[in-house]
Symmetry: C2
Subunit: 432 residues, 2 copies
């Protein structure tokens, strides 16, 4: 049998590892039989040499095998899921879940928490008083059967090796690997029992993928992994140069989701939701083509049924839904600090990463897993790319605990806006 260092050497030399060998590495890592420094060296070799498709599949399988795997087949329905690679102001799942459920599809999602400058759906949902995200598999299934939509945090041990491997990649400069990224995302989805998933692959400054080429490679790989493991995968690439919508921060985003379900959402968010909903519905077991899916989704918003499904869903998970009619029912930040334009002109750029980091600094996100979230903190953008602003006009309003906290990030928020003399050409939002 080849030693672990022999396996590292083979990958280093551009060779290929068998499924058994990859299982030995990942299984050994989890059982402490393979030391972390060997995994780190292997990861760096993978960074340089890549993985073949069969190795990527083997890695996906090994990550899944490290924990529990949900079986949703007893529902008798195809459960659809949506996964975003993470962005700033990305409250799409909050709108999408009830929207496709209103259409009759079954939307089930195990979601993560915020980390770094990107938010997590579970944290956003927890802005709502009483909303429970710790849901056991039985309850998850019964809610899907009853309501058609459930978004839960992870109560079972889904692909724990993925969490360990990701943390190790984070500190060894091996995050940027298409194969490792695709295996990581797909292992979680497959372990969570999803049967069809729309991947919102965000591309741009505020996203994990800084350019389209990289995103394209990972999207392609995820589709291949899905095809090999019986999971329908539709990747959609969307831009993440500026934040999505106008609200950044947990309860602020929940309110924007409600607005969007009322048909009054910001244009970019509405566009992304419509595109993803159409893809999700056409992957579902409703048998709709993409045009029918687009029309039905539109109808559910216009007719108020999507918002009603949202209310039903919030209440099914124990949440106090009164904020839907009375936004004051959500906790609000005590201080609001406007950020004003320094000059007159068009917003030529709005840096999603800078806004995400400012929100993080306000307490809307967490830098370490153990950090506490301030659900009320965040930023409301008053202008976006292409908008004309006068000098001293409000560019944004910072929602914060204290004046000092707001002032600490005000300059960063202001300089996230580039105000130019001329109007920039509009940028596409749906990239592929």
């Amino acid at each position: 049998m080849t030693s672990t260092s022999g396996l590292i050497e083979r990958k280093r030399n551009g060779g290929r590892l068998s499924s058994e060998e990859i299982q030995l590495l990942i299984g050994g890592y989890m059982s402490d039989d393979v030391p972390e420094y060997q995994i780190a060296a292997w990861l760096m070799a993978v960074y340089f040499r890549g993985l073949m498709l069969d190795e990527t599949l083997a890695l996906t399988d090994a990550l899944i095998a490290s924990g529990d795997r949900l079986d949703l087949s007893s529902l008798g329905r195809r459960v659809v899921d949506k996964h975003s690679t993470g962005g700033v102001g990305d409250k799409v799942s909050l709108v999408l879940g009830p929207l496709v459920a209103a259409c009759g599809a079954v939307f089930g999602k195990m979601s993560g928490r915020s980390l770094g400058h990107t938010g997590g759906t579970v944290d956003k949902m927890e802005s709502i008083a009483g909303f429970k995200t710790e849901i056991e598999p039985d309850h998850f299934l019964s809610q899907l059967r009853r309501v058609g939509v459930c978004i839960a945090g992870q109560t079972v041990n889904l692909a724990p090796a993925d969490g360990c491997l990701y943390a190790l990649r984070d500190v060894t400069a091996t995050i940027e690997s298409n194969a490792l990224t695709a295996a990581s995302i797909m292992s979680k989805k497959i372990a969570a029992g999803a049967q069809a998933v729309v991947l919102d692959v965000k591309v741009g400054r505020g996203a994990f993928f800084k350019n389209r080429g990289q995103a394209h490679g990972v999207a392609h790989l995820m589709r291949e992994i899905g095809a090999a493991r019986g999971l329908k995968v539709a990747p959609v690439m969307t831009a993440m140069d500026q934040p999505l919508g106008c609200a950044v921060g947990n309860s602020l985003e929940v309110l924007e989701a409600v607005k969007t379900l009322r048909g009054k959402g910001p244009a970019d968010l509405v566009t992304v939701v419509a595109e993803l909903a159409a893809n999700l519905l056409s992957l579902s077991d409703l048998g709709w083509d993409i045009n029918k899916a687009r029309l039905e989704a539109r109808r559910m918003i216009d007719g108020g049924l999507a918002l009603e499904k949202f209310r039903e869903w919030i209440e099914a998970q124990g949440g106090d839904a009164s904020f839907i009619d009375n936004p004051q029912a959500l906790e609000a930040a005590p201080v609001r600090l406007p950020v004003r334009a320094g000059s007159t002109g068009y917003v030529g750029d709005l840096d999603a990463l800078a806004i995400g980091e400012a929100a993080l600094a306000l307490g809307a996100g967490r830098l370490r897993r153990e950090d506490k979230i301030d659900h009320a903190a965040g930023i409301i953008l008053g202008a976006k790319i292409g908008d004309f602003v006068e000098q001293d006009q409000e560019l944004a309003v910072i929602h914060c605990r204290s004046r000092a906290a707001g002032e600490a990030v005000a300059a960063r928020v202001q300089s996230a806006f580039a105000v130019d003399g001329r109007q920039a050409a509009p940028r596409p939002l749906i990239l592929e």
Copy 2:
């Protein structure tokens, strides 16, 4: 300040780290502030991207700074040293030390122990009853002053980070890096206080370097490091396809060294000793050119003065020198097992690695640092490449503890010899 993962990322992207940054990595590794998995990832990035000369120097300095550094300047003489990258049957230092000391040069060496299929000088010397290798720096200096030659094991803590890093490289498939190898060797030499060193860079199947290109790169780098740190370095590349000389195993090699000092050594060993002695002497403070050095070395062997210096040296380190006149005074193996030629012809090949591994299996070396050595075990080669042998002629004699131990390796020893119909062209021994 850049985080450790930022440093790894920069190297991964082909960038360069400052001296302070490399010191932070190595210092942090030794103080446990930088985890081993980050060092492992950095090593693999270095494997792919290499190090610039200034980074290699910084690494050498950081390895030296991790421990003590000997200062031999109080001698008022230039101390010369010889380092071999390790081979099979390599007893050169045992001959070279007394030979150049007899010429009037000062030869001081901190030597290592056997590991794997290659032997270590300290283990060979310990075949001699009473010979002490644990020598404190004061004693080392006074013996150099008095006798002109001292070979000691390490009593002080020379470049401990090098040992840790090497062990980590060994299990992460990052041994094969010119920069890491050059920094490793040179850090030990500089820490040990050598002022001039001849590097015997062995190339071939039985050596660390399997090909000349690799050896050439490392030799060049070591010379550059030496130049930058005030150490004269003369690399000499010698072949290590077949073992050097005829004896492989600790006390067997000591006896062959005596034979060589008497002017009766095997031709290949005599050639390598002559070449290295000439280089060492011309690096020394005697002011000789290479031709004068060659002549004087020859004269010291012919006149018996080299052997007398050997005796003086053995006694200075507490050894019983009676074996010089009476070989039976060294411990001998109880069993001798001949290995015979299966056919008649020329020895076309003799695999140094196979012979080294057979000797290791007999107990002449150690696989793990904690293994005990059997000083008497080993192999005496009766034929070398180019020799004509008759069927059933003795190819080698195995010196072993028991018949079973010898028989366990006999087939391996026999198949190390390739006996062909025609005589092969002679191969050069001194490559560069």
